[in-house]
Symmetry: C2
Subunit: 402 residues, 2 copies
């Protein structure tokens, strides 16, 4: 019986994939199209933000020391000397005992070093303002460069842009941004028993789940999927499809061939391509031991298990990181059941997260290799590293969210 | 000085918005375009999955009881009676003492009720298989309907589709899926001091952050943003832009007008539209008290604060839920610093999440109303409800992730 002949550790497999994947390409795009894209380089501030001393409230610009000692019963009296107009540089300054109306966002006039909120003042006629609470220097004021300094690194390369980050880039005046170019990923399902999802499977057949779930996973990871459909176990056809997919994409994913016979078949097809060389054949991981990778002329092919749960899990571990995905989001939770593993294997245990009102619980989703349950109820996974033999119920775990 | 005249609680504000927002519309789309879309109706299984008894391993289909008592030192002897071919219905059955080769995913032959993994067997010539470990009934087998039963609700309305969910829908044979139609959202920035982001702001001016961050937030929430740019404080122009945006969108968001004078101005423009009626004017929330909503003929306008941090926070609380966003993801963490609030106000405190190796810490992101820091370092927020006066350092909190 054929054996895996180059089984490697997960971390080594990932390192080999990275080494054999074309370097990340960058492209410049409009900021308005940058949601969820990954920065190709560090963003360094080109100016101080804010660029002027700005009020954070509606109120009166003052010299802080003129308000010291003010209270409801003993208000301070200030002389009204003007009004700061939004968007304009004040043309007066504040001297001892003076104040000026200033709106939120307005520029502090020279001489003023704080703002009293309007709620803590009372206007007496045209010229006088009563202050009934003291302010300290720079209270209710953002100072020049307080938010971000010129030359400061605001975001580092690899950061995935969220709406708030896009807001920050807008504040920096960047209407174009250099992001990691989207990689094209070819997806092939193989196996005589796989039928298109619109078919009702006959006995012994299953629907082509992987073309859909892997394409969505590619999209989620920032790549551009291209689906080649289901290829039956025909060497010529599979080889030709692989060759075409390699030409048309940066990465090719072949899923299927879970049984030993089919695995050999897929492997033969991959190795028949020009300049093919095996990177690894089998990983010390569960689920997904049959994962393999072959480098070929002009491309890289990753073979994933046929079982949809294992295929998607191995995609997350080995393929998503190649596509420029930023670090995964992790949360802490308490494991609800013992999970066995073996030393000498990385286990990826899918868990459902349940908040019991006090703690976040991570509930392992088992169910043989069941499809629907395992796929749909898990919100993340717990990684049991190579050295560990399992995790006991009640232990704290880090859950990587899907 | 003008006051807020219809300040409401957050939950009441959201209820009013929901009541005055057009009912959710559904559209049918291809499954391959369904990533991140929200289901418009429950998904009910139309068939048992799997539809046949299936092996989860490569091995030998057996009657479990024939393997009882087998061990390495005392293997059981079974007679090889055939080979299950992938994708085909076996044309033989398994009787006492018989077995058949079966690949992963293969259909169990009649009579067999378990599969012995190939690793626990040894082949002796053509006809005999040695079994050196017992299996129980249905070991390494998925039974008919074990994964999902016909008539069972697989996903409920409002569920947002992840790659694994798309896999499940593929397994169910659904190549078209009914999702909540994307809502068009018009975005207007107002204020004389706001300049396009490509401009270098003069003293007293700020860049138009909100057009970018809110458009991205709309996109993230599943809507389709349409940006109308910066409208100066000109009543005619603002009113005309609002009217156009109402005609062209399901929801209109006007941000800006943080100072009292500008707020009045924006409000007057909204109320001048046909059949305008104020839903609320001010919410008992921080940040974002100036948030307001006006219902007009054929539409709904939400006024958000001009400050980008508050605008984005209030969008999350009041607008994202209207666009069909599924329930937010929440995680548990430990607060690292006291956070003061006031009873009679909902506070939304932005936090940075830090894993200290044992616990997930939620570090409040302060910094006056600073923009860059607060926006870019927070990964989520803690909601301090209406009744509470604050949360102490060391207390467990629920963090809603951005």
């Amino acid at each position: 019986m054929p054996e895996f002949f180059k089984v490697v550790r997960c971390e080594d497999a990932l390192a080999m994939l990275r080494d054999n994947f074309p370097h990340q390409r960058a492209e410049e795009i409009d900021l308005s199209a940058a949601l969820n894209r990954v920065l190709a380089r560090d963003i360094v501030g080109q100016e101080d933000i804010p660029g002027f001393e700005r009020s954070t409230v509606d109120g009166y610009a003052v010299r802080a020391r003129d308000t010291f000692g003010s209270s409801e019963s003993m208000p301070g009296f200030l002389t009204m000397k003007g009004e700061v107009v939004m968007g304009e540089q004040p043309e007066f300054s504040i001297r001892e005992g003076w104040c000026a109306w200033i709106p939120t966002g307005g520029m502090l006039p020279p001489g003023a070093d704080a703002v009293v909120m309007v709620e803590h003042t009372e206007r007496l006629g045209e010229d006088t303002v009563l202050v009934n609470r003291p302010v300290g220097p720079y209270d209710n004021v953002i100072r020049v460069g307080e938010d971000a300094r010129k030359g400061e690194t605001i975001f580092t390369q690899g950061h995935r842009l969220r709406p708030q980050d896009i807001g920050v880039l807008a504040a920096l005046g960047l209407n174009r941004v250099e992001v990691v170019a989207s990689h094209r990923v070819g997806i092939i399902s193989s196996g005589d028993e796989i039928v298109p999802i619109t078919c009702t499977p006959n006995i012994g057949q299953v629907r082509d789940v992987n073309s859909y779930s892997l394409a969505a996973a590619v999209e989620k990871a920032g790549g551009t999927p291209r689906v080649y459909g289901v290829i039956p176990d025909n060497m010529e056809l599979l080889t030709a499809t692989l060759a075409k997919a390699v030409r048309e994409n940066h990465l090719v994913i072949l899923s299927g061939g879970s049984s030993i016979g089919q695995r050999d078949f897929s492997l033969k097809a991959m190795l028949s391509l020009p300049e093919a060389s095996m990177l690894f054949h089998g990983v010390a991981a569960r689920p997904g031991k049959p994962t393999l990778a072959v480098r070929v002329d002009g491309g890289l092919i990753v073979g994933l298990p046929g079982h949809p749960v294992a295929a998607l899990m191995m995609f997350e571990i080995f393929c998503a990181p190649l596509l420029g995905t930023a670090a995964m989001r992790r949360v802490r939770a308490t494991l609800t059941a013992n999970v066995a593993s073996q030393a000498g294997r990385d286990d990826f245990v899918r868990v459902e997260l349940i908040d019991d009102g006090e703690r976040m619980l991570a509930n392992p989703v088992h169910g043989k290799s069941g499809l629907v349950r395992v796929m749909s109820s898990a919100q993340g996974y717990v990684h049991i590293p190579y050295e560990k033999q399992g995790i006991k119920a009640g232990e704290p775990v880090l859950v990587t969210l899907f």
